[in-house]
C-alpha cells in the first residue's frame, strides 16, 4: 500500500480505499444522479415538444468544439499534476495544476463569449424551452467548473504548506476524479445541445 494511503486512519476490516477516495466516489454517484435527472428531463421535454430547433443552427458549434478540446486537455494536465505529486516533484505539480486552472478559465471565457452573443441576439432562458434547457444545463455545468477551479486553486496554494502531509496526494487524486466528472458531463452536453 502506498504511503498516501495513511488517510485510512483506523484499524479494522475496511474497503481498502481511503476515506477521501471513497467519499469522492460516493459524491460523484450523487452527481451522476443529478445530471442523469437533468438529461432525462431534457429528453422528456424534447420528446414531448412539438418543435425543437436543430442545435447547430442556433448554437456556435466551433466554439463548443474548441471548449471540448480545452476541457479534455485540462483533464490530461490534472492527471499529470497528480503524477508529479506522486513522484514528489513539487515544481512539476504546480506547473500542471496552474495549467489546469488556466484551461478552466479559458473554458469559462469561451462560454461567456457564447452566452454574451446569445444575450445580444435577445435569446434568454425565457425565450423558448430550448434556450431554457440550454442556459440551465450549461449554467449548472459552469457552476461545477467554478467549483473545480476553487478546489484546484486551494490545492495549488496549499501545496507549499501541506506538501509532506500524507493526505495531500489523496486530495489531489480526489480533485482529479471530480475534474474528470466535470469533463465527462460536458462531453454529454455537447452532442445533446449542439449536435442533435
Amino acid at each position: 500500500m502506498s504511503s498516501s494511503a495513511v488517510a485510512v486512519n483506523y484499524p479494522g476490516e475496511h474497503s481498502g480505499l481511503t476515506n477521501a477516495k471513497l467519499g469522492i466516489w460516493l459524491f460523484l454517484a450523487s452527481e451522476v444522479m443529478l445530471f442523469a435527472t437533468l438529461f432525462t428531463s431534457y429528453l422528456v421535454i424534447r420528446l414531448g415538444s412539438s418543435s425543437w430547433p436543430r442545435g447547430w443552427e442556433v448554437l456556435n458549434v466551433p466554439l463548443g468544439t474548441i471548449n471540448t478540446f480545452v476541457l479534455i486537455t485540462s483533464s490530461v494536465t490534472i492527471i499529470l499534476a497528480y503524477a508529479k505529486c506522486m513522484a514528489r516533484d513539487k515544481a512539476g505539480f504546480k506547473t500542471y495544476m496552474a495549467l489546469t486552472l488556466a484551461l478552466a478559465f479559458v473554458f469559462l471565457g469561451i462560454k461567456s463569449v457564447e452566452w454574451g452573443t446569445k444575450f445580444r441576439a435577445h435569446h434568454f432562458p425565457s425565450t423558448n424551452i430550448f434556450f431554457g434547457v440550454y442556459f440551465v444545463l450549461t449554467g449548472l455545468h459552469a457552476l461545477h467548473v467554478i467549483g473545480g477551479i476553487i478546489l484546484n486553486s486551494v490545492l495549488l496554494f496549499m501545496a507549499d504548506k501541506h506538501w509532506d502531509d500524507p493526505l495531500f496526494a489523496g486530495r489531489v487524486e480526489a480533485a482529479g476524479l471530480y475534474w474528470h466528472f466535470v469533463d465527462i458531463v460536458w462531453i454529454f452536453l455537447l452532442p445533446a445541445l449542439y449536435l442533435l
Binding site: G23, S30, M33, I45
Partner: protein
Amino acid sequence: MANQHVSDPTEHAHASHELSFWRKYVFSVDHKVIGLQYCITAWIFLLIGFSLMMLMRWQLAFPYQPVPFLGRFLSPHLAPNGVISAELYNQLGAMHGTIMVFLGIVPLAVGAFGNYLVPLQIGAPDMAFPRLNMMSYWLYLPAGLLMLASFFLPGGAAQSGWTSYPPLADINPGQTVWLLAMVIIITSSLLGSINFLVTTLNMRAKGLTLSRLPVFVWSEMVASVLLLLAFPPLEAASILQLADRVLHTSFYIPAGLVVLGVPSTATGGGQPILWQHLFWFLAHPEVYVLVLPPMGIVAEIIANNTRKPLHGYKTIVASMIAIGFMSFIVWAHHMFISGMAPALSNFFLVTTMIISVPSVAILTCFIYSLKGGSIRFTTPMLFALAFLPMFGIGGLTGLPLGISVTDIYLHDTYYVIGHFHYVVVTGSIVAMMGGVYHWFPKWFGRKMNDTLGKVHFWGTLLCMNGVFFPMFIQGMAGQDRRYWDPMTQLHNVPTQPLHVVSSISAWTLFLFQLPFIYNFFHSMFHGEKADNPWEATTLEWACPSPPPHGNFVKIPRVYRGPYEYSVPGAKTDWIAQDAPEAA
C-alpha cells in the same frame, strides 16, 4: 494497515478541555455534540410543525370561528378577525408537511440518532469527515430558519402543498424561498449521507464484520444510500422549478396555460407531470428514510428488553436492503390518477405489492422476537411495542392505495393522510421517542424519569390514534384532503364531528408532550445516574456515559454478534460485543 491509526483518543480527551465554548458547543466537529444539536433542533422543528397543524385543526373542526387567544396575534391580512383565511390555511399546510418531513423526521432519524450512535456502535472515535459533519448541521439550521422566515416575507410562505406540484407551484407566491431552502437542505443531507457511508464502511473496529453490525447501523446505511441517490433528482427538479420562477423558463408550464382567465405569458412547451415523476422519485425512497432508522431503533430496543437475540437478523438486514432497492421503482404509485399510461400503472402496482413483502418480513421478525422472551416493560420498550401494531396499521392501509383500482377512489382523500400519518407518526416518531428514552443514559449519563415516561407514552398513544383513526372513516366517506372548509361539500357534513374528535385529540396530544419536554431537560441535570442501565450488548455502551471526546478510552475489539442475550452457559444474561471469548 492495522497499526496505521493516527488518532489517539486519550490525546483528544485532553485537547477537548482547551476548546472555547463556541468550538465545543456551537461550531463543534464532535459527532456527539452535532448529534445532540440535530436532536434538539429537530424536535423543535417537529413541535413547530405540530403547532402549525394545531392551528389548522381549529379551522377544520370549527370553520369560520375565530381562533381563541391566538387569533389576535395572527396578521389581520391573513386572519381577518382571527379567522384563518384560505391563504393562511394553505401556507400552514404546505409548511407543516415540509417542516415535518425535511426539517423534523429526517434530521432526527439520520442527523441526530445516526450521528450520535453510528460511530459509537462501530467503535470509531468520530465520523470520517468531522468538518463536513459540522457543515451539514450548519447548512440545515439556516435552511430551516429560512423556511420559517418565509412566513414573514412578502408573499408569505409556500402555499402549494409540500409536494409543490406545478403549474400551481410555478405561479403561487412564496414558492421561491421554499425552493432555495430545499436546495440547501438537500445539500446538507447529501454531505451527511456520504459521511455515514464512509464512516461505516471504513472505520469499524477490529472484528466488527458487516454481519456483526447492529441492525440500527444497517438501517442508517440503507437510509444513507437512499438519501445519496434519491435526493439529487429532487435537487435537479427544484433547480428547474427555481428557473421557472426566477428566469421565467417553462420546464413545467405547458403551452396554452390560462391562469384566472388570463393566458400565461410563459412560452410553454414544458411538462407539469415531469415534476411529479422527479418529486416522487425522491419522495418515495424518502418514505423509507423516514421509516428504516426508526425500525433499527425498535430492533435495538426489542432485543435489549426481551433479553434474547433478535429473531432473523439476516432476514431483517436482507429485507432492509431489498426495501432500499425496491424503493427506487415504486414512485409512480403516487400518480395513478395523473393521466399516466395504464400499462405503467400496472408496473408500479406490481412493484408496490412486492415492496410490502420485505416490510412485512421485518415486522414479523420483530413480533417473533417477542416470543418466549422475559419482556421488561421499560419506557423505551413500551414505545417499541406500540410501534409494531401502529406501523402495521399504517402499512396495511397503504395496500389499497398501491392498487390502482382502489386508489382511484381513495386518492387525495383523508384516507391517504390517515395512512401516512400512521406510518410516520405512530410509527417513526413513536419509535424515535422510545429511542430518546433508551439512549438518554448514553447521552447524559442519567436516566429519564420512568413515571413521567409512562404518562407520556399512554397519553401519546391514545391521542395519536384519536387524531388519525377518524381520518380513515372520513376518507372512505369521500372527504378530499387540503380543503380549507370541508363543509363546502355536502357529503362531508355527516363526518364533520370526526374533525372535532381529531382536533381535540391533537390539542390533548400536545399537552401530553409537556411531561416529555420537562422530563428531558430535568433529567439532563437531575436524573438518576446510570452508565449502562439496560445491560445492553452493543458497542456504544462499551465507552463511558456520556462518552468523552474521542469516545473510547481504548479502541474496542469485537468478538461476537450484536445481540448475545441469554447465551446458554454464560454467567450473566448478556455478553457485550467487546467481551473476549472466555467470558
